[in-house]
């Protein structure tokens, strides 16, 4: 099978995955014991004429298969419906537009921090194996990865809130005054041109937004950072000991070319699934980290929607997450197909 055939097959396979994943979501929220009418009307009012009326309005009295096809059709055509409980009557689309930018900002920085700290550290450790700095970096990465995100977030919030008393250095007023928790102000995103036209006002805003998101991003990126470091280290160690590097060394390739051209490129291959896998960690982890840092992003929105029984919002958010994750998987396959010529030759 050629590489592109392999990629095409993966692409085709993602269609049933999206459909089936959405079906699972439908089954959980509609067949599960959660009663949307009770969630809207409040506890203790699950029966009675008002609840019946509401059920009829929401289309819950229709036969199940009809509900299912309506749901799937709505999702596939991006007709995401309205929120029922959290913000009754507001389209889910609008809510996502309000909440998503904060999560994207958080995700962007946590990916960046993980990439630009984890990979260089891992490569450094791999290039200097079995030295003190290698052991320090490796052990740090292992422990860093084992720490529960939410716990790390709690500790960081507490320490930063009182950094003046605890370590004699005030985080809140450092560089620019920002609170430790609460969402960053992302006003500059709507008019990025202001960064050029009105630098005195927008740059501090950007700086403040970065500073505010940094602790949360470090926490959210922590586990992927540890992963990237460990994989990076093993990958470099492996390529360094491989025959073609030996050959290159023997024919007199300079050290710099050797590292950049022969070692790094090949060591990046096993890092691909780790980097794309970050999407999973980010979306899942956003719930806890956003809860601790009081950032009302999309993870927080999902959590609130779930515990308050806002079923259509939960379904729509889940569908969006599925699309993002399946998209990331396709991206991973694409990257593999481009980078690694061996793809498609082993069937597993």
């Amino acid at each position: 099978m050629s590489r592109w055939q392999y990629f095409l097959r993966r692409l085709l396979l993602s269609i049933p995955v999206v459909i089936f994943g959405t079906t699972i979501t439908f089954m959980i929220i509609r067949l599960g014991p959660l009663d949307p009418a009770a969630a809207i009307l409040g506890p203790g009012q699950a029966s009675g004429p008002r609840a019946e009326e509401l059920r009829r309005q929401l289309g819950l009295t229709q036969p199940l298969w009809e509900q299912y096809f309506d749901f799937m059709l709505d999702m596939v055509t991006f007709n995401l419906g309205n929120s029922w409980v959290i913000s009754s009557g507001t389209p889910a689309y609008e809510l996502i537009l309000i909440y998503a930018p904060r999560t994207i900002w958080l995700g962007f920085w946590s990916v960046l921090i993980a990439l630009f700290v984890g990979i260089p550290l891992g490569f450094y450790a791999g290039l200097n194996p079995n030295t003190f700095s290698d052991y320090t970096a490796s052990f740090g990465g292992i422990v860093w990865r084992a720490m529960p995100n939410f716990w790390l977030a709690i500790i960081l919030v507490s320490v930063l809130s009182q950094s003046e008393q605890l370590i004699g250095w005030d985080w809140k007023t450092w560089l620019i005054t920002t609170p430790v928790v609460t969402p960053p102000r992302l006003g500059f995103m709507t008019e990025p041109l202001a960064l050029i036209t009105n630098p005195s006002e927008s740059w501090p805003q950007l700086l403040g937004a970065i500073k505010q998101i940094a602790p949360a991003a470090i926490v959210l990126g922590s586990s992927s950072m540890g992963n990237e470091m460990r994989i990076g280290r093993t990958a470099v160690l492996e390529t360094i000991n491989s025959n073609y590097v030996e050959t290159a060394k023997a024919k007199g390739v300079s050290n710099r070319t050797l590292v950049w051209k022969h070692v790094f490129r090949n060591a990046l291959i096993p890092l691909v699934p780790i980097i794309t896998g970050e999407a999973f960690l980010l979306i899942g982890g956003s719930v806890l980290v956003e809860t601790v840092f009081a950032i009302n992003g999309i993870g927080y929105l999902f959590f609130q929607a779930a515990i308050q029984g806002d079923l259509p919002l939960v379904g729509s958010l889940m569908f969006i997450f599925i699309l993002i994750l399946v998209g990331t998987n396709i991206l991973q396959d694409f990257l593999y197909t481009v980078i690694d010529p061996r793809v498609g030759y082993d069937e597993s």
Binding site: A146, I231, L325
Partner: protein, 485 residues
């Protein structure tokens, strides 16, 4: 190792009969070890029996269970709080009701040290049994499994993991004996139990209910409202890890919490491991449509964000009868199994497919062996090692996820101890003098997750020394990362 291969091979029982001494010595050692803890073993068996009997409709034997339980608690046990009591009081000149009149801290320490000593002796006994079997009863001088064991013996990082995990398992198993007090007296029904203490102002021994004592020994950050780790509270009670916000003993809480986390993690991994293994066998043997179906369904479950799927399922099933069992632990296990089997199946699918291509599978098929037997006898044993690696790596992720869910207020119902809930309770006090409430459970989780990962590394290197290569490694790393909690 199967003893049907050689013609002149005698069965194991006969080999033992010819040379019974090593086995007899080993059994005698075991008998001594078990006799020391016979009461606990008996009590455990009685508990198990009572669970089984309560499942039978009609409750046929109401008296038997309570009789067995009372019998179990009346048998003296070396490592129990009755034999080595630490809950005494100061009577003005010395300690009463503690072990040898020691102060409560020392009495508790003696018990902890003895419990761990016993546990390590037990471990040594099991190891000794393996060595004896290898030396006296096994035909082969060498089997591939010996190499696995030897590699593990020279793998220090893996041994570190094994020891951490072992310490943690002992903490969970001996939780009732290790705590300075009991869950029943200190956490569940504090107002039906009393403690005696030395009131220095009155110069006399006084009695107070545990609930009242708890109220006055909570850790809430400010001023006198703090009982830190390794201190006594005003009522002469020793707290190795300090107290919680409402004055309950943290060590007792954490030890019981360890029990719950560990049982959830292990039962999840055992069940999803079975599902993954069965599916891997079927998909690798039949391939084609079976494989495609499982690929699509596992990909679909994996395409749902893990933690959010767990949250959603937790919320949906929260008020149902399922959440009643074991304070919601059963529901958690079911949800985790639903979310985790695809990862395990994915991880062992490759090795299973490779094994299915081997010649001996063809040979077995050609002489008409049944598929079920081929899968069980000729395929499963080769995949089991990989499964072991991935399960031990995922255990840490599950422990983190359980804590994360209960931090959010989902999962194990209060007041049953759970680590995530205590972290959430202590959240407002992290930067105060009551830092221990959130910090200690977090450090313990970090330690145990590191331990599980290290153990997984060790097992991986021991089972397949060549497997520590790029892509395979990537899979284990991704699994070990957990669900982002």
């Amino acid at each position: 190792m199967s003893n049907t291969q050689q013609v002149d091979e005698v069965p194991l029982t006969q080999r033992i009969r010819e040379n019974p001494r090593p086995l007899a010595v080993w059994l005698a050692m075991g008998a001594v070890l078990i006799a020391l803890e016979f009461g606990a073993v008996f009590g455990f068996a009685a508990d198990l029996l009572s669970v089984v009997i309560s499942l039978i409709p009609g409750n046929p034997l109401p008296g038997v269970v309570s009789f067995l339980e009372s019998l179990g608690s009346s048998i003296p046990t070396l490592l129990s709080r009755e034999t080595i009591p630490n809950q005494g009081y100061f009577n003005g000149s010395g300690y009463e009701n503690t072990f040898l009149g020691l102060e409560p801290m020392l009495a508790w320490l003696v018990r902890v040290v003895l419990v761990y000593l016993y546990a390590f002796l037990f471990l040594g006994w099991v190891w000794n049994g393996y060595v004896r079997f290898r030396r006296h009863y096994r035909y082969a001088d060498w089997t591939p499994r010996d190499d696995v064991v030897d590699r593990l013996r020279s793998h220090q990082w893996g041994q570190f993991g094994l020891i951490v995990v072992f310490l943690f398992v002992i903490l969970a198993v001996f939780a009732p004996a290790l705590g300075p007090t009991t869950v029943e007296a200190n956490i569940l029904n504090p107002y039906s139990h009393t403690v005696q203490f030395w009131n220095a102002d009155a110069g006399a021994v006084q009695e107070v209910t545990v609930g009242q004592a708890n109220l006055q020994s909570g850790s809430q950050g400010s001023g006198t409202q703090n009982v830190g780790p390794w201190t006594y509270d005003d009522f002469g009670r020793f707290h190795p890890f300090g107290t919680t916000t409402n004055g309950k003993d943290m060590f007792t809480f954490l030890a019981t919490g360890a029990r719950i986390s560990l049982s959830i993690a292990i039962s999840t991994m055992v069940i999803s491991g079975f599902i993954a293994l069965a599916l891997a066998m079927v998909t690798a043997y039949y391939k084609g449509l079976a494989d495609l179906l499982v690929v699509v369904s596992s990909d679909s479950i994996q395409a749902l964000p893990q933690l959010m799927l767990l949250i959603l399922l937790m919320v949906v099933f929260n008020q149902t009868w399922l959440s009643e069992f074991y304070d919601g632990a059963l529901l958690m296990v079911m949800i985790f199994v639903f979310g985790y089997w695809p990862f395990l199946w994915r991880a062992i699918r490759g090795p299973a497919l490779q094994i299915a291509e081997e010649e001996w599978i063809d040979a077995a098929k050609s002489f008409g062996q049944r598929p079920w037997v081929i899968m069980k006898k000729h395929m499963a044993p080769y995949v089991l090692g990989y499964l072991l690696i991935y399960t031990s790596m995922s255990l840490g992720g599950i422990i983190i996820a359980v804590a994360g869910l209960s931090y959010l207020g989902l999962g194990i119902n209060p007041p049953t101890p759970e680590w995530g809930r205590i972290i959430s309770d202590g959240q407002p006090y992290v930067a105060t003098q009551s830092w221990h409430i959130s910090l200690i459970p977090g450090i313990l989780i970090t330690l145990i997750v590191t331990g599980f990962n290290a153990m997984g590394d060790g097992i991986r290197d021991a089972i397949d020394p060549k497997s520590a290569k790029g892509e395979g490694d990537g899979n284990t790393e991704a699994v070990a990362g957990g669900s982002g909690a």
